[in-house]
Chain length 326, copies 2
């Protein structure tokens, strides 16, 4: 299948690399809002086009993977592009998913295309696991822990403080809380109970470090409700030790069975990722395959990962999957 | 939906308890090959019928959950019952799944019923995770570890030895192998490298313990290829400390992404179960819901867990799932 990439940041680059790992996929081109000649791809021979030329390629793209931001790009892009393409996006503003779904569903149904929104790992693989676990353990309580990993939003928030040159923030799951859940204690936990925040900060010469640390730790929503540590480092140290984009996390669901709920049952799903955008991109590629299959079967409208059967993600036939993986 | 249970051993009892946890399900009856009056259910007011009367209930069962053994029961029962009922089974002979699938598919298609085979956790939830992980990490290597848990087959094998009164065998995942996989070392491991076997054995008076231990440790297929420990206990100790049926295990998939495969990505799925049959039963109940939904949509034929979208397992609507779980 011929895949187009719309948007070429970290995620778009990840999709480019993901396509190389899938023998049944081919990258037909990258679409960008920047001047096309300013981009240099990781793959030789793949053309870069101006985003506004996308409609010329209506018949040469099987699935378009939209790699825009959730705040302003995707709410516009996905419904619009779904009028002419089968699309996948990674919309991750949890609270706005049903609104986004409706807009995309309308566009896709009207034009007879298939769209899949909110692919990735959260929303995405973590969501799947919350649904599977709650269906299997109806009295279960589920917990999601994020990290250890870099939060771009929190890093950006630190960078906006006066006197800060650069920063990197790690979200770290709290081991004590994790252990309590694994032990079946079913604790009541706030997000702040579940996570700590580690900040590595580069300041401008002469900046007041104490004041900056205080500003970080008391920042509402971002840090005030968490145990936050601030470590000042040099620009070189930040580059050497904190330039990756690792992430991950755990979804846990603990429930009981038995005539008197005497048996504890625990389901745990854990991701440990050296590269958050590349892993997310790999998930998008797998769901692009599913979108292609659904389109081939004549389906239309919007879907999420919850609507897709696992077999539609795999290049193997159903018979091979039953023989090898079931 | 009205659920019938066909077969009332540990698994059937588990399904009875699982139905209590699902507000949209009702147990309409239990079918048994034993004299019906010899069974006493955990639930008051639910009738027990002789298995050979099953066809009388063709119109009063929405989904029949078949709780028979994989060796001889299910290969006969499931294709036969699928001629008249929507059914779910837990067929777990991995090597024979495609054969079983074909027989059930033919019967179900011909009669216009929906059948789902091989539900449970392995095959079942573990299979799902193997498929999801391999689709997301095409170059990934996956590993399945079982335990710590009771293997009924291995316990039975010990019981057949002369002089043995009773026995309980635990399959235990090897921590060193698990750690190597979690560290991304992608080791080559045999089943024997991944597991050790712990045996708790009660012998008859005057039995030769040394000889029995030797017979266990050298038993081909079951123990010879494993690091096996044998501990002799009294009947009381076995009852007090080893009467449960815990189990569990881990599916791990490690792969890489990046232009030079420089980023390691790890997916881990872990189950820790106090009761293997009750957890399996809960999985069967969730898939009974999916079978009911497919039947309502007019589908027919055989399915496995790989063919079912996660949303069909949940009592919640798609919109509620997107709002609460995605």
């Amino acid at each position: 299948m011929k895949i187009g990439i719309y948007g070429y940041g970290n995620l778009g680059k990840g999709v480019e690399l993901a396509i190389r790992q899938n023998a049944d996929m081919e990258l037909m081109g990258v679409f960008t809002r920047r001047p096309p000649e300013s981009l240099s791809l990781l793959t030789e021979g793949v053309p870069v086009y101006a985003a506004d030329r996308i409609l010329e390629f209506k018949d040469s793209v099987d699935v378009l993977v939209i790699c825009g931001g959730s705040a302003t790009d995707l709410p516009q892009m996905t419904p619009q592009l779904a009028q002419n393409f089968h699309v996948v996006d990674s919309f991750d503003t949890h609270a706005a998913i049903n609104t986004h779904f409706s807009a995309v569903d309308e566009a896709a149904k009207e034009s007879g295309h298939v769209a899949l929104i909110s692919a990735g790992w959260d929303p995405g693989l973590f969501s799947l696991n919350r649904v599977y676990a709650s269906a299997v353990l109806p009295n279960g309580v589920d917990y999601t822990f994020w990290g250890k990993g870099v939060s771009q939003g929190h890093s950006d928030a630190i960078r906006r403080i006066d006197g800060v040159k650069d920063a990197r923030q790690y979200t770290v799951p709290c081991e004590k809380a994790l252990t309590a859940v694994r032990n079946g204690e079913a604790p009541t936990l706030t997000t702040g109970d579940k996570h700590t925040r580690e900040c590595f900060v580069v300041v401008e010469e002469g900046a007041d470090k104490e004041k900056i640390a205080e500003q970080i730790k008391t920042m509402p929503n971002y840090f005030a409700d968490y145990h936050t540590t601030v470590t000042f480092v040099t620009e070189e140290e930040l580059k050497a030790n904190h330039s990756g984009l690792p992430h991950g996390g755990v979804v846990l669901c603990g429930g009981t069975t038995g005539a008197d709920n005497e048996h504890r049952q625990l389901i745990e799903y854990r991701l440990q990722l050296d590269s958050n955008p590349e892993f997310t991109a790999n998930v998008l590629a797998a769901y692009a395959r599913a979108v292609y299959r659904l389109a081939q079967r004549g389906e239309s409208g919007c879907r999420t990962v919850l609507d897709i059967a696992p077999s539609d993600l795999s290049p193997l036939s159903s018979e091979a999957l039953r023989a090898k993986m079931l």
